[in-house]
């Protein structure tokens, strides 16, 4: 089948459709670069969505739990081997994405007789200042974009991601504390989940860090944390 170009393109197209269909139940995850560090946030029903990768690296992802786990393990292995064989400073997001993760996802996506990896992810790398932070949006087919803004959203529908990220950027002031940042992300989460437009969406007037029946998971790559490890889970209650 794959010897024929048209059949191959059709198979790839079917694959995209299959992945989109399987991703329907997924809810968005967020990464926001702030003066304190990089906040990563996800909302789920017990399944973790935010993970530590290395000293200054973390990931937030949605998709099939098994595939999120596969991506996470691959990233952790690559980062630790690199950190051990060279140094912690040599573990960079650019190298992790380009040489380990993106290729692995692309291969899995294009091998049409094997199951694809159903995952949409944001990888974050903490710098010494917000200007040096790196946020990368990584897709199920290996495609990825380095963000030029301080907010990245990953959602099952990539079209609304940008609107959500722009709304969060516009709504947040540089001096807002982390609970307020989380609150704004949760308002965007609710809007994305309900299919609401961001055009007329008002900024949340009060802090509400709970969603009934859901577990909010947040972590900070903390710029001020002493020692090599900068990741710490955040308790938003």
């Amino acid at each position: 089948m794959t010897e024929e170009p048209y059949r191959w393109l059709e198979a790839i197209s079917n694959r995209r459709e299959y992945i989109r269909d399987r991703s329907k139940g997924g809810t968005p995850v967020f990464a926001v670069s702030r003066p304190e560090g990089i906040l990563l946030l996800g909302v789920g029903q017990g399944q973790s969505k935010v993970f530590e990768i290395y000293d200054r690296h973390a990931v937030a992802a949605l998709g099939h739990p098994v595939d999120i786990e596969k991506l996470r393990q691959t990233a952790i292995e690559a980062a630790h081997l690199e950190g051990f064989n060279r140094s912690a400073r040599d573990v960079t997001l650019r190298r992790l994405i380009s040489f380990s993760l993106s290729g692995m996802l692309k291969n899995a996506f294009e091998q049409v007789f094997a199951p694809p990896i159903i995952v949409e992810a944001i990888f974050a790398e903490l710098g010494d200042s917000p200007a040096q932070d790196a946020l990368v949006r990584l897709h199920y087919d290996g495609d990825h974009q380095y963000s030029t803004s301080r907010v990245v959203v990953a959602h099952r529908e990539t079209g609304t991601e940008t609107q959500a990220a722009e709304w969060i950027s516009k709504t947040l002031a540089s001096t807002d504390p982390l609970p307020r940042v989380a609150n704004v992300c949760l308002a965007a989460w609710q809007a994305l989940n309900d299919g609401k437009s961001f055009q007329d969406l008002a900024a949340p007037s009060e802090t509400r860090l709970q969603i009934p029946g859901k577990v909010i998971e947040a972590a900070l790559l903390d710029r001020q944390l002493p020692g090599p490890v900068h990741y710490r889970p955040l308790d938003l209650k």
């Binding site: 973790s48 993970f51 530590e52 990768i53 290395y54 786990e69 393990q73 952790i76 292995e77 630790h80 081997l81 950190g83 051990f84 064989n85 020692g227 490890v229």
Partner: protein, 252 residues
């Protein structure tokens, strides 16, 4: 996905430092020790590395933090010892991140045993013997008590009831600690932090008096031992300034 960094490392091995029969004079000798005090475990050591009769360095850090709740004091050949510490640092973090839980204290103790056993060829060749002291506390148990382990160069580990030491100056120190644990008032295990830090420095001064390979403490030049405190809250490095204050307060 077992969280076993050593198994992963074998797929992408780091070159061995053991050569093909060429035996350079190894860097060695040291005094490192650990003892219980009222606030946890004090682990300390000197800064000297020697090669035969030559002082190779007087700025060597021998008390290495493996993670937030475990420490290793190294004695023996630094090339091997530092590599073991680096391997364990990565292995513990790799396990914690990949398995989403910290490695148990028993697992960490065994991991160091395994590295020592795998180092057997270098030990037998006389170029790579390492005899460390390990101190750790269960990170997930708020009521856990810090423990001290010492090892033989082949990897057997033993829990120390009150104290442990390693290196060429340790015989002297262990004699003093035995005396204090038996007849001291207070015993080292009852000492608050300031007294324990002063004792650690005095122990090193005593070891340096009888062992040329142990770097001493020179309080008048603000040169103190490397001293860390391990407690249920984690690891705290006792800075030179803090040690100087404790030292000054202890003077009659």
């Amino acid at each position: 996905m077992t969280g076993d960094f050593l198994a992963l490392l074998q797929q992408s091995p780091f070159p061995s430092v053991v050569g093909d029969g060429h035996n350079p004079m190894p860097l060695e000798a040291t005094t490192v020790f650990a003892f219980h005090c009222a606030d946890g475990v004090i682990i300390g050591g000197d800064h000297r590395a020697t090669a035969g009769h030559t002082i190779f360095s007087d700025r060597t850090e021998k008390i290495l933090e493996l993670d937030s709740h475990s420490l290793m004091a190294i004695a023996g050949v630094p090339a091997m010892a530092f590599e073991m510490a680096r391997t364990l640092q990565t292995a513990f973090e790799f396990y914690r991140r990949s398995q989403l839980q910290a490695m148990s204290l028993a697992g960490k103790v065994r991991a160091l045993s395994r590295l020592l056993r795998e180092n057997l060829p270098a030990t037998l060749q006389g170029v790579g013997a390492v005899s460390p002291v390990f101190a750790g506390v269960e990170s997930d148990d708020p009521g856990a008590r810090p423990v001290i382990y010492f090892y033989d160069p082949l990897g057997a580990h033993f829990e120390a009831a009150a104290y442990a030491g390693s290196g060429s100056g340790t015989t002297t120190i262990k004699s003093v600690l035995h005396y204090l644990e038996t007849w001291g008032h207070p015993r080292p295990g009852e000492m608050p932090l300031d007294q324990a830090v002063v004792l650690a420095n005095r122990l090193l001064m005593t070891a340096a008096e009888f062992d040329a390979a142990t770097g001493g403490v020179h309080a008048e030049q603000q040169e103190f031992a490397t001293i860390k405190l391990l407690s249920t809250r984690g690891i705290r490095t006792i800075s030179a300034q803090e040690q100087a204050r404790f030292w000054k307060d202890a003077q009659p």
